[in-house]
Symmetry: C2
Subunit: 205 residues, 2 copies
C-alpha cells in the first residue's frame, strides 16, 4: 500500500475516526497537524494544495488526497471485515454513516466544539441562538441510536464495522458537549463494547 | 432481486436521487407517497414501521428498510458502473456523497424547501436568522463543485457515478432556493451532461 499521511487536528472526532480505523486494521499512518483554532486549514496554501473545502481531515494516499472522514475510513477498510460483504448490510452500514454526518455530527460535535473548544462566552449571537435546536436534535439522534442498540450489540452485522467507528467518535465524548449519556444506557453499553475492540486507541493517543 | 418500494415525498431531491439511480439502471420501483407538509412521516405508525428517524426517503427491499438517500442509491447501484471498481475512486465517490449531505443539502436543499415549499413569510424567527449563513455556505459548496468541474466532466471516473446523481438532485433546482447558477458555469455544463445521460428521468416524472 502507498504511504499514507493524515492531515488532521488531533482533538477532532472526524480525524480520530480515521486513526481508529487504521489502528483496528494495524495500518501505519503518518500524522500532520493543523491548528484549526488559528485558521491553518483556511490558508491559501491549504486550500490550493490539500482541500479546497478548507477542512480536515484529509487522507493523503501517495500523492492523492481524500477529504471527508467517512470516505477515508472506507478507503482504509476496503476488503476488510470492517465493511460487510453482504449487499444490504453494506448499504445499511453506509446508512448509519450518512446519518452520522447529517443528524449526529452537526449537533453533537458542534456543541462539543462550541462548549469545550471555543467557549460559550465567545460564541456569536447566531451560534448561541442555535444551541437549543442543536441540543434537541442531538438528543433525538442519541435516542434513535439507543432504540437501535437496545436490540443488538452493534449497528450492523453483529460486529464492529465502520458504522460503529463513525458514530463512536463523537458519541463517546458527547458529555463534553453537555449531553448526559446515562439517559441512553444501550448507547453506553455499546461505547464500552467498541472501546474493548482489539487494537482500539483512544482519542488522545 | 426482491421487489422494492420507495417510501417518498416526490418533490424531495433526496427521493429523486433514488428514482434517478433506478431509472439509469432500468430497475423497477414501486412508489408510496407521504405528505411531509402534513406530518405523515412523524406519525407513530411511520416511526414504528418505516423509519424511527421520521424521514423519507426509505427504500424497502422485500421486508427490510433502508433509510438515507445515498445509502439507498448505493444499494441499487452495487455491482454496476455507477460505482467505480477502483479502490481510490470508490472512496472518492463516497467523499462527494458525504460532502453532499454535510455541505450541500443542509444549505441548498433547506433554502429551496423554506423558500419554495414553506414560504419565507411562514418561517420561524430562528429559520429566518439562519438564511444568510445557509446562503453563504451553499454558495461555497457550489464554488467547490465548480472548481472541481472546471477540470473534468464528472466528479470521479470520467463518467456519471452516484457522486453526480447525489449532487445533481438539489443542484439542478438550486434556483428554487434563490441560487443563481449562471455564476458557476462548469456546474451548469455538468448539469446539462447529467441531464443527457441515457435513461435520465426528471424530478417531476
Amino acid at each position: 500500500m502507498e504511504p499514507m499521511v493524515l492531515h488532521e487536528y488531533a482533538p477532532s472526532g472526524n480525524c480520530y475516526k480515521i486513526r481508529l480505523t487504521a489502528a483496528l486494521l494495524g495500518l501505519p499512518l503518518e500524522r500532520r497537524h493543523y491548528d484549526i483554532m488559528h485558521g491553518e486549514t483556511r490558508t491559501p496554501a491549504f486550500l490550493q494544495n490539500i482541500n479546497a473545502n478548507g477542512r480536515i481531515p484529509v487522507l493523503q494516499v501517495g500523492s492523492r488526497l481524500l477529504p471527508e472522514s467517512n470516505a477515508a475510513c472506507w478507503y482504509l477498510a476496503t476488503g476488510t471485515p470492517l465493511i460487510p460483504d453482504d449487499r444490504f448490510e453494506q448499504a445499511d452500514m453506509l446508512r448509519w454513516m450518512f446519518f452520522e454526518q447529517y443528524n449526529h455530527e452537526p449537533n453533537i460535535a458542534t456543541l462539543r466544539f462550541w462548549k469545550a473548544f471555543i467557549g460559550e462566552e465567545r460564541l456569536t449571537a447566531s451560534q448561541t441562538a442555535q444551541i437549543p435546536a442543536k441540543r434537541l436534535a442531538g438528543e433525538a439522534a442519541l435516542a434513535v441510536m439507543n432504540d437501535h442498540l437496545a436490540q443488538r450489540d452493534f449497528f450492523v452485522a453483529d460486529r464492529v464495522t465502520l458504522a460503529d467507528i463513525s458514530l463512536y467518535a463523537y458519541t463517546h465524548v458527547a458529555d463534553e458537549g453537555g449531553f448526559d449519556l446515562s439517559r441512553w444506557p444501550a448507547v453506553q453499553r455499546w461505547i464500552d463494547a467498541v472501546s474493548a475492540a482489539p487494537g482500539h486507541v483512544s482519542l488522545d493517543a
